[in-house]
Symmetry: D2
Subunit: 415 residues, 4 copies
């Protein structure tokens, strides 16, 4: 392993002087695992327009191929989440073999109970038991798929909600939801988890049945230990302190995972860390803090958090956007690992408001690009994944192969 980069050498010597174990930090960076979503490789857009992207994946295998490319370039994106029925295939064994062959695993399974005609007024919260049953049956089918694919996580997002006050009974819908979740929960295989995602609004505009972490948490508590909360970083009210929620859920042993993305306004679904990189750092800081904490955090929780990307690349090249997203998560983790936790705790205990804040920020202000380049080199990867992507002309190649008329693969309306 060479570490001939002078910037890295300087950083390494500074860290060593600061008492950090640089090898341990690099090991943790090499073990990072970011799951990319199959639907991030197909077309997507806003309600106003889906701009088809030349090269957008048309089939599940093409999505897997794109995900594999992201993993080849970054080394830390070894799995891909599937969306059913968008990614449903006839021959699952064939798909698994294909995935293995290209060096990728199948990750979380995401049912879709928001696009069928019958789901106009909701799925598992719908007033009509027949609609609820249909949604449950679909999700149970996804549980079966989990068994085949070896997926650990059933990732549940419901578009359920209402658009007008009075449209339906809020508590009535809550009861229907809990009943449906219980039926699904009981079908979960051992060692798997149900991740319950919440969302502030959209597509429902008066109330969303699972509107905040508290509702998801209360539901999970009643279901049992395999039920966990999924934090989508774009699903909060303006001003919400997301790292606080992360800390709470970690401490309660109920943080199941993330859907990473970034937003300035609503659920903008931009590249994670692109709008507010400091916030992403603070989220990773809570995760690292919990992992090394002496204060009890239910240990399986901290270890098992699923780090997944869920974005909507409307105007960006899709592979490049995904590689950038993975890099942004690496930067945030790297900085979080550079926090001197002993000194931070000392400043906190002393009531040194700004001293503690500065101790945290010393890590944030550090340029970790040389460190990550070194980590990549040690992993046998290109030190600059974006440059490598461009050098390989992968996006040009798939554009030629797949063509820009490939709108059908998206799953989203208009895609």
């Amino acid at each position: 392993m060479s570490n001939s980069n002078p910037a890295y050498q300087l950083l390494a010597s500074q860290l060593q002087d600061g008492g950090f174990d640089i090898e341990n930090i690099k090991t943790k960076l090499k073990q990072q695992h970011i799951e990319t979503p199959s639907w991030g490789y197909g077309n997507s857009g806003t309600r106003f327009r889906v701009f088809p992207w030349p090269g957008a994946a048309r089939t599940t295998k093409e999505k897997l191929a794109d995900a594999a490319m992201v993993h080849q370039l970054t080394g830390v994106a070894p799995s891909v989440a599937l969306h059913i029925p968008w990614d449903k295939v006839e021959d699952w064994d064939d798909l698994k073999k294909y995935a293995a062959a290209i060096g990728i695993k199948i990750g979380a399974i995401n049912p879709n109970v928001f696009q069928d005609e019958v789901y106009k007024f909701g799925s598992i919260c719908h007033a009509d038991p027949a609609v609820r049953k249909r949604a449950i049956v679909h999700i149970l089918e996804c549980v079966e798929i989990m068994k085949i694919t070896g997926s650990r996580d059933l990732s549940l997002w419901f578009a359920d909600g209402t658009n007008y006050a009075g449209q339906d009974s809020i508590r009535g819908r809550k009861h229907r939801m809990q009943e449906a979740l219980a039926e699904i929960y009981h079908a979960l295989p051992p060692n798997t988890r149900m991740l319950i995602e919440y969302k502030f609004f959209e597509p429902a505009f008066y109330h969303t049945d699972l509107a905040d972490w508290g509702i998801a948490y209360a539901a999970a508590l009643k279901l049992g230990p395999q039920a966990q909360v999924l934090v989508d970083t774009g699903h909060h009210a303006p001003g919400t302190n997301i790292e606080h929620i992360v800390a709470i859920l970690l401490d309660e042993g109920r943080l199941g995972g993330f859907h990473f993305n970034n937003r300035k306004y609503a659920d903008d679904d931009l590249i994670v860390g692109s709008v507010n990189p400091y916030e992403l750092f603070l989220i990773f800081n809570e995760l690292v803090a919990a992992a090394v904490s002496k204060e009890k955090v239910p240990s399986n929780c901290a270890k098992n958090v699923a780090y997944m990307i869920d974005q909507s690349h409307n105007i960006e090249p899709k592979i490049e956007a995904m590689v950038q997203s993975v890099i942004n998560c690496q930067v945030a983790l790297a900085k979080a690992l550079l926090v001197n936790r002993a000194k931070l705790a000392e400043r906190q205990a002393a009531g040194d408001v700004l001293g503690a804040h500065r101790e945290l920020n010393a890590a944030y202000e550090t340029d970790v690009r040389p460190l990550l380049a070194q980590v990549r080199e040690e992993m046998g990867l290109p030190s600059d994944p974006i440059a490598a992507l461009q050098a390989r002309r992968y996006e040009e190649k798939i554009a030629q192969e797949r063509g820009s008329a490939s709108a059908e693969g998206g799953g989203f309306p208009g895609a």
Copy 2:
């Protein structure tokens, strides 16, 4: 004219006791004019799903027919805004005759410079002069259509903006926008207006070139008196006091019109007055106050405000939703007309904070449904437009005629 309704009689006598001229109030209610949008009769949806509505209009004539039905039922919706190219027809004379035959006029013309492939990074703010030219040419074509249709208002909304910091030069885009608007402005026929709409965000998520009323106002000032600002009630940051903006623009003589709808979160595009009816009342209160004010408000402005609905009925029956929208605007205007302005001014001058607030709210708390029923009867209209719509089974009829496969008419992706 009968006024046998005891509730109306009671209200009329109370108003008379309070010094109100009830005939004048009714006259103003009869003169109210709410323009409905052609695109409100086709399918629309969210980025997640467009639920096709059985009966959704497939052609421009069908949209006009639906708008005519709303006018037949309410008597105050005599015009319909068109969206080009969605509503472009071969034979405009034929369309005008058809409109006249069914008792409706063509209102504002709305160009579309956000759905063509080339507009991925903007239209009149695009870095490429060829794209800007194309957008300008399209808008100039719309100006030609205005001449044929006799439309007074060119209603401009631009989806232009960026998704990532650094993506483009904010000031560079501003200069391109002003240049393009100037070219369009000079093509306007006399006695017509350019309405410049602003929007906080969406579909752009980092910056929107026309993000707030101030930017639209600054642009309009440079263009000239025919350039006015259009207030879409859903296009503001959380907490924004919209009636304040309305008052400012009225006072500056630059309030061109409204796109009415309502929102709780983002640009939810729900039925106007359904989320916050008090806010709608306060907006109409400023409009009525300006109309009767002794303080100088540039008079053509107050008189010429265009009241237009712009909503997205994703789960509601479209005609019913439009009728309800018109009714909600009637309720808000009726209440605003019941404010005792002399007493209000007296309480304000006295520094009587709560007395003034109560004087305003006395109008808001009044049940104006009997008054509106009376107005409708005097206009020879059904006193309950919703009941009349249901009695006529219009929505059932068009569902049968047009069928639920009629997705193509929407114009929106997936529709």
Copy 3:
């Protein structure tokens, strides 16, 4: 009992035609109970300025006298919440006798753990165990006061939080909080409750230890059934659907009570119902719905909700503002009682989005002022409490008696 008011007679006959039991509705309105806060009668202000109000109460007895006046005028404000140490007296028996003599009861006890010098960085979450101990001791003293005053509710608000990322350990503070709450909980007498209030932000600006209902709920769950959540209507992120939270907490049996006020921006602490009266109606609608629901709502919860006002009257006459607040709560309850729940449920079951919405709004649009006037007359009260207040010249009298130099009674800085 006369009901000579023609407006009331008309309304009563309409309601009777609609199948409503008007006597039952009036009974519920007569049983309404709104608790006013002692601190609402002293001076308060913003961080920029406290404008002293001539007549502001200087002593606990003066605050009780003012509260008694509000009750005399409205008939539904029979109790007053106390704030310790602001309202601490030497002779509690004397205070109880005084209260009884003027027809008022002592309600919730509110400890103050945010104004002492030592609480600069928090109280029960403070890093220093001595500070936490001091806060606990103060709250335990309040529990003792509850025993003397016969108060049912210990109402806890903590200003605890941090201003800068890294300032303190979020999870460390959470553990300290839970430990302290447990110690306090164990000291609660039977048949009393601990109400845990949450707040989005202010005075802490990075994170607030009890930031949302989920955190308060999770804490309450661990404590036991006497721990309940208190919803202050001004303590949420922009756009939050408060009635949804109310419905969830009712359904979970953990809604302990309200601190009523209204806000447009932050924790503005304006008069309840003055910014968004429709929202207040929707909150009461959930409460009424839960009370009459066939779906199980833990019954003690629905019955025992404490309705308390917590506002900051910075520029308004304080007694008038309080009377207006009580009236606004009456209006909201009256309208919620006029919802035809059978028809509403029918429309909801039918998936009639706008029909259901209209059914709810039919109640909201009703002018309930005649009904409330009738209720007041039947209770032997002035039909217009504001007019009665003005006629009695109570505010003028206390201004003369107490003088405008009476700033010391407020408890807030500058007051």
Copy 4:
């Protein structure tokens, strides 16, 4: 000049390779000018509590002494803004001499028209002409003080607004405001400026007369070229893109200056750059871009922007907080100067969304601490101003001298 720091040497060589003129960058950093506010050295707090700070300045001279210390440590804070009447002195010549002796200048003059009893309902927008007159007279007195102190900027913030709909006429208040501003404008000496500050809300909670940049801009346009808009970074609605407003105002030649601070929720008045450092970088990026732009930006505007801090240090040591604020502005400017504008423009022109974004972010990710240390050394200043402050024990010394009972100097209620 030594530049023995290896981190700086590495950065310098990297920048040189990248085509940057490092000497020019350092020159610009040495010329940076951040004005600190006199009121930042006295006590301040929230409406709940002002925690007195031992050492808080009690007199104008003490405030100047503190500001001089900040300048001694940082070298880029040579002026201090005054607040009248808080900082009013008998002998202005004496104060000027004192300031000169300690190496500091007097900067902007800030009138106070929000704390007198008469301003309860506003100052220059008040319904009573006598109150307006009083406010104008006070501000004209401040104009006289400007002449004595040689201040260039009259910095105007008005707390004017209303708390309840209907409380006063929005347009009536607008007219009064414009009239008053015109009277003040005409009294301005040549070569001075009136900076008009806007604020979203607080202390007014229904409407603020100067609520957004558009209102301030429209007022400034009518007054003339000496009237400019002041951007307080904490005075916007949630989600507002502040750098967009900065770009617009620069482009219109109306950006007068900044009140720097940072916020997560409302006008939190935290240390600038502490909540969202990326946003501060983006603001400085627009300023640097405008300064070097070939597109016409009215040049006096870009050159004359006043960079002022306006924060409320409630729990932090005040001198340390101010030094940290200055450092954060240095970091933001340094990073903005490292943007490769030619490459950025090239990526923008090419429609390379993520390439352009990365080009911008390459500057942001750079660790500029070594560069700033070098700049400080070259200026003969301590390379770490915070460490130097602590070494000098200045805060300990003033705590002893001034004592913690020194609450009277704050100017804020409770202070």
